[in-house]
């Protein structure tokens, strides 16, 4: 991600760190009153899903580190999440599961609220890119 990265978090991808992810997004929200709160709320929902996915499925458990950078531009809000876990393969085209399902909603939910969701394998890590366009 280029430009000023004013919001960055680094650490282990463990459940206890999810609160810090939430706090980081809270700072983004507080600093950007011009951004529609609904855009921020839905973007945060997606980031928490992807972060939760890394925490839950990242291998080896408890040893994965991550670095999250969030940026607001005039056009969009974007997040860049790099984790050191084993290669993760995600199917972003997977449909939303039926109402009886107890799992499998995370990635479809994130996809539904983002304009961009990508995952690439870069430098022995997973590189997630998330963006939501800001409505004028």
């Amino acid at each position: 991600m280029s430009g000023d990265e004013r919001y960055v978090l680094e650490g282990f991808a463990v459940p206890e760190e999810l609160g810090r992810v939430h706090d980081l997004l809270g700072r983004v929200s507080a600093d950007h009153p011009e951004v529609d709160p609904t855009d921020l709320m839905l973007f945060e929902t997606a980031v928490m899903e992807i972060a939760g996915n890394v925490v839950e499925h990242g291998l080896p458990p408890g040893e994965v580190r991550w670095r999250l950078a969030v940026r607001v531009t005039g056009e969009q809000i974007e997040a860049d999440l790099r984790d050191t876990g084993h290669e993760f393969s995600a199917d972003f085209g997977k449909p939303m599961p039926g109402v009886d399902a107890e799992s499998g909603r995370g990635l479809p939910l994130a996809s539904a609220v983002l304009d961009q969701l990508e995952l690439a394998r870069v430098d022995e890590g997973n590189h997630w890119r998330l963006a939501r366009h800001l409505r004028p």
Binding site: T45, G52, M96, V99, S103, R105, P108
Partner: protein
């Protein structure tokens, strides 16, 4: 997650607070499972103090809803905030988990 629990006549109201996610959903689910095992199968989850829910939280609510119904009861949710309502809509779960406006309303006919 700590949650308040109110034993009403005919049903139990559970009121979690904060974020209902992969950290907090398992204890809520375990507690509701215990209640159902004890025959308390009419459950209201008051979401008034829940600021957000993720897919783990949704999975827990669905699991508990199914368990309650399998035992002749039901699970209702109440006082869902904007994020929770949006997520229910996006996942189509509002079809089976339509939020009541308040815990009182959710338990009124129980």
């Amino acid at each position: 997650m700590e949650f308040q629990e109110l034993d009403r006549d005919g049903h139990v109201v559970l009121a979690p607070h904060g974020r209902l996610n992969l950290v907090s959903a398992p204890p809520l689910r375990a507690r509701i499972g215990d209640l159902i095992a004890d025959g308390r199968t009419r459950i209201v989850v008051d979401l008034g103090a829940v600021e957000s829910v993720d897919s783990s939280g949704l999975g827990a609510l669905i699991g508990c809803l199914k368990a309650a119904r399998e035992h002749g009861g039901d699970l209702r949710i109440a006082a869902a905030g904007e994020q929770v309502r949006a997520v229910l809509r996006l996942t189509n779960l509002d079809r089976i988990l339509a939020p009541y406006d308040s815990a009182e309303e959710a338990g009124r006919e129980w």
